[in-house]
Symmetry: C2
Subunit: 308 residues, 2 copies
């Protein structure tokens, strides 16, 4: 079965792991957010792509929730000792990946080709794609001003309430090679339990990707990132509350209006008033059994009705 | 006593350590080669400045001869595992310094100001200056083509015989702030036992620096980088043989024609025919006592005759 998955970082990575543990990884294509990529001293850092890569390669630090297990921090410690701006936590091994990516970008290789090479080098069996090879940056509008994603999320610890999001570069951004083909050849399109606004909307801001999903001939299923109206990690609940008016499955579904046929929700949430069919199953992706149940519920949607 | 020192990497760093162990470091200004600086994935690496900094801060790996002691290599190992181009050995702590420098360069701080900050953060008491804040790159002309310094030195292991050197950017390069003042206020100008062609000539390729030394009112003393006609480290002897016709003190002195009044040479070398006064003393800078003798011989020149 071919599954095309829209995914952000941590939630996306854990969902992709569930899916590739349950279905044949060779049929899975991950279309990953690059709106929170950033530039550190000229190095191109792609946190969501890297979180997916580290998680699926078994390299991630599960306890900390980001970065690599067994990481060392000598570069960052030195940077800080020397009075540099060490606001973004770069591990030494993580830096090696950023160096490899940036070397290749600087000689003109597209991000998608680099990502495919890195994924292969890390032993990944699924197809890992950035949503776009073009520059795309998520900006958060707050009462304190507009901030790029990582500035808001990491440096300001997402303390500023978000009044709106916008995606710099979306007008000029095209889908990365392979993205439209994956959506076209999919038996199922899935949206990972990621933050709709800052993980999935940047992907959808690339107009041909959004159009391909709007015009899908196969079901599209989203997994809600909320459990009991709260996010497992990150500011999704606060953002839904403020930007969609609440944190029920109906509010989650409203962020994907016209794009999904099914929403997978946790038993802790009330599916009443959801504008799409809901499937109720525990959605916490912590244990292998729980992961497999969520993946099975999602894959089962492919056997359901096809959109009109 | 104020001493202005022209210096390259390893030989320069060891000589500066000898000098600052013997004279008041506050009076010493190091004017350091930046012709072998390089760009790695956009990071600005300045090997000679860093070797001086690490050596004087007591951070260098004496055994290996470059880089930091107790260094780790996780970024480089990862870069290589991922198929990146890991030809230049970047340690993790070393990377932290390159990140700090590059961050500052990218917001417009000049290299000289950054270097002063880094030197202060590392506890250095002497003044550490790049020869220029402008882009200057040493190129080696060989039978296999022209190569930038590190390409020739590291990647090709300086195996190609050098037919000539040139300094890209020298026409446009000005002395870094502080360089001409240090030369003007010096009681003594010294040239470290560095490779004349690839460590000292790049500094002298900045025309106002060369002019300031040509028009000096105080003695200028060079320490020969050769002992018994051989280099302690690196390709200085091969280059002198090929470009100056030999490896005697006379040949070394010929690379500094019009610029030096005294050449300090090792007892293993024959000072006959040298066009300047020679001072004979063991020049190996390995032991503290040996270092102090060389430094004392150099400082003693300040008490000698002043150039006409």
């Amino acid at each position: 079965m071919n599954v095309a998955v829209l995914a952000g970082g941590v939630g996306g990575a854990r969902f992709l792991r569930a899916l590739t543990e349950t279905a044949d990884p060779a049929g899975v294509t991950a279309i990953v957010n690059v709106g929170d990529d950033l530039d550190i001293a000229g190095l191109h850092v792609a946190p969501d792509l890297d979180t997916v890569l580290y998680t699926l390669a078994g390299l991630s630090d599960e306890e900390r929730g980001w970065g690599r297990a067994g990481e060392t921090w000598n570069a960052l410690d030195t940077l800080r000792e020397l009075g540099g701006d060490g606001w973004f936590a770069l591990g030494d091994r993580d830096l090696g990946l950023h160096l490899a990516r940036t070397q290749a970008l600087r000689v003109g290789e597209p991000l998608s080709a680099i990502t495919a090479r890195l994924a292969a080098a890390a032993g990944l069996e699924l197809s890992l794609l950035p949503a776009t090879d073009d520059r795309l940056r998520t900006w958060l509008e707050t009462a304190s001003g507009a901030f790029e994603f990582q500035e808001w999320f990491v440096r300001r610890r997402h303390a500023d309430a978000v009044g709106g999001v916008r995606f710099e570069g979306a007008d000029q951004a095209g889908p990365a090679p392979g993205v439209l083909a994956a959506l076209d050849e999919a038996d199922l399109i899935a949206i990972a339990p990621s933050n709709p606004y800052v993980s999935i909307w940047p992907i959808l801001s690339v107009a041909p990707i959004r159009a391909a999903i709007e015009n899908r001939r196969v079901p599209c299923v989203a997994v809600s990132p909320l459990i009991g109206g709260r996010a497992v990690k990150g500011p999704a609940a606060e953002m839904l509350d403020r930007l969609a008016g609440g944190t029920t499955p109906a509010h989650v579904a409203s962020t994907y209006a016209g794009l999904i046929d099914v929403l997978v929700v946790d038993p802790a949430d009330d599916p009443a008033d959801a504008p799409v069919r809901t499937v109720v199953t525990p959605t916490l992706l912590d244990e292998p059994d729980a992961r497999r149940r969520v993946a099975a519920a999602v894959l089962d949607v492919a056997r359901g009705p096809v959109p009109a």
